[in-house]
Amino acid sequence: MGDSGSPGAWLKSKFEAAHDGVTVKWRTPTSGSSNLTEFVQRARRGASIDADVYVGLNTDELVLVDQKLDSPLFADVHGDLSHVGDLKKELRGLDSKGRAVPYDTGYITSVADATALDRLPTSFDDLASARYENDLLMENAQDTDTGKAFLLWSIHAKGSGGYLDYWKSLLDNGVHVLGTWSAAYKAYTNGEAPIVVSYSTDQVYAANNGENLQKYTVDFLDDQGYANPESAAVFAGSDQRALATAFVDFMLSPSAQKHIPQLNYEFPSTTTGSLSGNFQKYAKVPSKPVTFTYDDLAGKVSGWVDKWARLVAQH
């Protein structure tokens, strides 16, 4: 996250300007989610963590961390945050143990090419119908944010007892499950299939590049979208707890909330943040956002994902 004009560079320069003698060092993520798994392995083996704050945590990853470790990797900091009261209502109960601090949020949804389809799908059942055979591109729910959100959304819609039957019909209908979001999105822009699981901010990017917005029509299913907040957390072993907490608090400040989410193509997590320019115009919010909290996912999410993955890989 270190390049200029990125959220990381913005946070670093502003936070260092406000705190004399403090240097923020970003450790560049290796790839995907492997960065967090490295920290879990370090904690398990008693190797040093050497970091104070983790940025970019999903709720289900917090569940995985707790499942693999006996003592907590992250500290409860909610009580020490001055801006925690500004969090949007739906994000306050995200982590009942006060560790994950959501600094932005986004909505995973289906995005469809309205120039290629006469009628866009409006529900989960539509996607499994013959009309949209071979039309859906998505990402692996085992280790991508978008794919996992889409799977969880389908479980929210069909229930933990019915989601596998739904996925059987989706697989019979020719859903493509690619390895990464960029692979799926690239296939989508190449016209391999007209529907992709992506973000509700996709039109912002298209508008910034002067592309035809019809090709990136945000298509909420059943008026829903899966909210996927991105969180920061302070390592329990940090010897700079106060400073680390101040950094996380700073991410929730009104000035940060006006910058960070947009640089990430996401929405502010607080009521004090705001959108500007093309974001204001083209970033879409579903009328019925759904999500699972930490408590909803604990003890269940691994089994859900495992059963889904085995179904897909042998189908």
């Binding site: 560049t28 993520p29 392995q41």
Partner: protein, 607 residues
């Protein structure tokens, strides 16, 4: 040759004296010394870290246990019907009867069955495309032949995501191929299917077959052909009887390596096929990202059992090529000339090569030159901004690091490979078992190697009260050399097997030490194999990702593929692949230039 020491010029005397001293040193160290050094390095950066991870597959609780591996073997998801037979052998006859009476329907072979199926297809593709390429390069002389030969290894280093982008642009629904066949009303729909994955595996591995076989063909002894022809055999008969047997070990070596590679294929399968075409290694990677490490380890143990078993079987046949010397190699004929079947094949092959190899590469370059569908320098502007801006991932540093690591890896891998080839080239079961085990860096899951390096070396161990952790540039070079050296071994061993002991002994009787005999007798014959092996070691190093990321000690130790990956996941860039494609193009140009230089340097020792 070179027996007389020049007396007129001091410089020459000094040079020869130095060389003589080097031979004494080499004789003292010997192949065995180099072999022991290789073993020590392998122990630290491979066997210890990987062994520690694989051990979790054969332990449960505090004690040894076959349970984790057995659970995998008897899981229908992994082994299909075989799992059923293993878990309940008594039910097998009944199940067999039921299967027969149902008219032999297709049975599930599980993830391992599918992986083997894909690997067989990929290997067949590599042989079908690679062998004619070797024939053209070995048989014909044409302008740019050595350049083409140098560039054959290029596909090997390309990151899967870029190859996937190229393949989609070339063979996708709206790709170049469909634009052409669409003119005659046809449409090819191969996106996300097995044929496209097989084509990509062929793209990666056909060059391996070509390169191995060309290296062997360039040392075929022409006199044997002439002898056969003087006895009245027609040309094709002479080639079949004399040349082909000399090439068979190298073809088999290439087939073995390609199969192992295809069996372990992971990023390209993931990028083109997604989870629905998951192989064992794709599945293992996903298990690892979710920290199911002991399950991942048991998959890796079974993968390694299969690939090492095949290596062992192959080694039985490696020494069947017959003896030869590089004294007189077969003359190549000009490509331009009268119409023959061979020349027609060469032209057809050139067209195929353009579609399969140049097409995807050109589309990556095209991607780097466009932004939002129009011609643009914005992606290279991005690279420049990264280079000049503060805190960015600098492309020039990535190029420098890649080249330094690769040169270091080649310098280590070539003697490692040569010494292992020399020591394990003897016949006998012990040598074959050792030979197979020393191929393990190829045969063990790259994902597991990454985990092992992280847990074993980066986290470190406490030895005699001192905490030891291994990381940084030297560790990266060592890891690259370890992953690349098997290529040197497999390129050199078949050629080494053809060095007749008589010739070597004759040199020794004439007073040459082992090192001197090696230079005068053995080296000319194995040089093409050493050069080809060096090229592969270089390519493996440049393309390596997992170990580099894990072992980097400071943020500045990134290579070209790592920089490319970083540009790919920069959220502020949005979904643009252009910056990564621009870095991919830099990678392509730098490695292509490097191969030309490696071969020019290596070519000096070629016959």
């Amino acid at each position: 040759m070179g027996g007389q020491v020049g007396t007129s010029r001091r410089a020459a005397l000094d040079g020869d004296a130095l060389l003589a001293r080097l031979y004494v040193l080499a004789d003292a160290v010997g192949a065995r010394g180099a072999f022991l050094g290789t073993l020590a390095l392998l122990l630290v950066v491979f066997y210890f870290p990987v062994g520690a991870v694989l051990a979790t597959a054969i332990t449960r609780g505090a004690g040894l246990s076959v349970a984790p591996v057995w659970e995998t073997l008897t899981d229908r998801f992994y082994f299909g019907v075989l799992a059923g037979v293993l878990s309940d052998p008594q039910s097998a006859p009944g199940a067999l009867l039921g299967w027969a009476s149902a008219g032999f329907p297709v049975v599930s072979t599980g993830l391992f069955g599918f992986t083997a199926y894909l690997a067989v297809l990929g290997t067949a593709g590599a042989v079908v495309v690679g062998l004619p390429g070797a024939f053209v390069l070995a048989r014909y002389e044409f302008p740019g032949r050595t350049l083409v030969r140098s560039l054959t290894v290029v596909p090997f280093v390309l990151p899967a995501i870029m190859v996937a982008v190229g393949f989609t642009a070339m063979f996708g629904t709206h790709g170049a191929l469909n634009a052409v066949v669409g003119l005659v009303g046809l449409h090819v729909d191969v996106a996300f299917t097995v044929p496209l994955v097989v084509a990509a595996l062929t793209f990666y591995n056909a060059p391996l077959v070509t390169r191995f076989v060309v290296a062997a063909a360039e040392t075929v002894d022409a006199r044997t052909v002439e002898t056969a022809r003087s006895l009245g055999a027609p040309r094709w008969r002479a080639v079949l009887d004399v040349v082909v047997p000399q090439l068979v070990p190298s073809v088999l070596a290439a087939v073995l390596l390609v199969f192992v590679f295809d069996f372990m294929a992971f990023p390209i399968v993931l990028a083109l096929g997604g989870l629905r075409l998951a192989t064992v290694e794709v599945w293992l990677y996903h298990l690892a990202t979710r920290l199911r490490l002991s399950q991942a380890a048991s998959l890796a143990v079974l993968e390694a059992a299969i690939t090492l078993g095949l290596t062992y079987v192959y080694l039985r046949y490696e020494r069947t090529g017959g003896a030869g010397t590089a004294a007189a190699t077969v003359e190549r004929v000009p490509l331009r000339g009268g119409l023959t079947a061979g020349r027609v094949l060469a032209v057809v092959y050139a067209v195929l090569a353009v579609v399969l190899f140049v097409g995807p590469l050109a589309s990556m370059v095209a991607e780097s030159l466009t932004r939002g569908g129009v011609l643009s320098g914005a992606n290279y502007g991005f690279l420049l901004a990264q280079q000049l801006g503060a805190g960015g991932t600098r492309p020039a540093l990535a190029v420098r690091n890649s080249l330094l690591f690769a040169v270091g890896a080649v310098v280590l891998a070539v003697p490692m490979g040569a010494s292992v080839a020399a020591v394990t080239s003897r016949d006998g079961r012990v040598h074959r078992v050792t030979g197979a085990l020393l191929m393990a860096p190829l045969a063990v899951s790259g994902v597991v190697l990454g985990i092992g390096l992280l847990q074993g070396l980066v986290f470190g161990v406490t030895l005699f009260g001192v905490h030891v952790s291994v990381a940084g540039p030297l560790a990266i070079v060592a890891a690259h050399a370890v992953v690349g050296y098997p290529f040197v071994v497999r390129n050199v061993a078949p050629l080494l097997a053809r060095v007749s002991d008589d010739v070597r002994d004759a040199a020794r009787t004439l007073g040459a030490g082992p090192a001197r005999a090696f230079r005068d007798v053995t080296l000319p014959l194995v040089a093409p194999g050493l050069v080809a092996g060096a090229a592969f070691a270089f390519a493996i190093s440049v393309g390596e990702f997992n170990a580099t990321v894990v072992l980097a000690r400071s943020p500045g130790q990134y290579t070209m593929p790592v920089a490319l990956e970083r540009y790919l996941v920069t959220p502020s860039l949005g979904p643009a692949l252009g910056p990564a494609a621009a870095m991919g193009t830099v990678l392509l140009v730098v490695t292509a230039a490097s191969f030309v230089i490696v071969e020019r340097l290596g070519g000096r020792w070629e016959p």
